[in-house]
Symmetry: C2
Subunit: 282 residues, 2 copies
């Protein structure tokens, strides 16, 4: 199977490295000549992709709009599989299925990442033990999905989560996008000046992702703004409950709010298989 | 030097173990006979403290109100040092200095902890590389502070942060208490059901401390409610800025908000020595 990876940032680079670790040969492509050279010189790719019609499987590891443009512009091999790895899925799916295609599309989202970017931070182990989400709709080819699952297992992923693109975007607004927004908002307090001596694990955890790339994330947020606004609303409402209890020095209410949080958190620790979301060990 | 540790939870137990690792003999005390027996049987303490007048240094590792009651009730050795390790400092300091004492008081707050509790989770390495805050006022004995610093170094702490109890309470409202509240509030979204397959590091970090003990934390929050309400206000305001930008699909504003967060976060990564806060390597 001939594989191509398009877009060699931390994600694309790590896709290449994990594929190579699994024994696959990987052709790579990036608009930056420097990055391509770096990838070749550091054995992150085996060759530079020149004609995209040569490949049986193409991973498009570009930001959302660039991904859509690339898929719309490029001619892929007849019957080949094209998978994107974007952090929002509905907008990509809609764009792909707008017109008939000669390839099989699979939307994926690796549940792994780091607070750094660029090919220099790529590593073969990034996906080890992680989940990969595969989004499906009526147009999805089940054999293409099965192939992606096999490849994902070889790349180190532990579980596959299958659901609709809509469900993915709702869940991800909560689990990832909101977390990144909170982290960014958290640092915007004058108290942060000189606070380093007063920090332990909780502050580090809360702010670890406060420095994410604003261009990538703005695009993801805007593409999923309706879901994200809902999640922000919910969090602001919830924080306001705690604030009110504190203003009123209402010890009992505060205790209840915390106890309730603890219980919900405990309940959330088990995987839930339900009709809209299937979770399978790879 | 004869040392006593009062209150054998995860913090008190870890104080014992880190002191023992450093070669000190430690007497322990807890109102629970079971915990005392566990501590003795597992060599967390060397002996059970019976008369608190026997010790040169007493670490009071109790919750805030229990700590205040204990210090007010017990007779300590003349000229000995008594240190508390509570997460709020002004209320303890005020209570200690309300009447003349025969001991030297030092307020401390180890910047280390875990999301679990109880002596069974105590470990000798809990403070390794961590900061310890020492709060001071006009009544503070500088020799007692120096002794605590020496002991803290032996326990594994890396840095000492010295400031007023007021400054501590302001900073800690931001770095620790707000983080715990956010984590608790974060899980209160129906989206958490079945979201486990969609989580990576950012969700884990955001929610790690959502399950903290509601009794301990309610007490800490109530004792520092004025500062904490201010921090909550600030965060809610900041989150509302992002929400507004998202509602208006204002890409430029969103980018600016994120970029600004990134810059503030980068700036916060260096220790700042200023007149009100001194940070020293131990």
């Amino acid at each position: 199977m001939k594989i191509c990876v398009v877009g060699l940032g931390i994600m694309g680079g790590s896709v290449c490295l994990s594929l190579k670790r699994a024994g696959y040969k990987v052709a790579g492509y990036d608009i930056s000549q420097n990055i391509l050279e770096y990838a070749l010189n550091n054995a992150i790719i085996d060759s530079v992709a020149e004609n995209f019609e040569n490949f049986d499987l193409t991973f498009v590891c570009l930001p959302v709009n660039a991904c859509i443009n690339f898929i719309n512009k490029v001619k892929f091999k007849n019957g080949s599989i094209v998978a994107d790895i974007c952090g929002v899925k509905k907008i990509i799916e809609d764009s792909v299925y707008k017109i008939p295609r000669n390839f099989k599309f699979v939307g994926t989202h690796p549940m792994a990442g780091r607070e750094v970017s660029g090919i220099k931070n790529a590593c073969a182990e990034l996906f080890d033990g992680a989940n990969i989400v595969i989004t499906k709709c009526v147009n999805t080819d089940i054999y293409a999905v099965q192939l992606i699952k096999n490849v994902a297992k070889a790349m180190g992923f532990k579980r596959v989560v299958e659901c609709s693109a809509e469900m993915h975007d709702k869940k991800i607004a909560y689990t990832s996008q909101l977390a990144h927004l909170v982290s960014s908002a958290y640092v915007k307090d004058g108290e942060i000046l000189g606070c380093l001596g007063f920090t332990g694990g909780s502050f580090q955890d809360m702010t670890r992702i406060a420095g994410v790339d604003e261009i990538t994330w703005t695009e993801l947020y805007i593409c999923n703004s309706k879901n994200l606004v809902q999640k922000l609303d919910m969090l602001i409402r919830s924080l306001t409950d705690y604030k009110r209890a504190l203003e009123e020095c209402d010890e009992n209410n505060l205790k209840l709010l915390l106890k309730n949080g603890k219980e919900i958190f405990e309940d959330s620790k088990t995987f839930l298989n339900r009709s809209e979301i299937s979770v399978t060990e790879l």
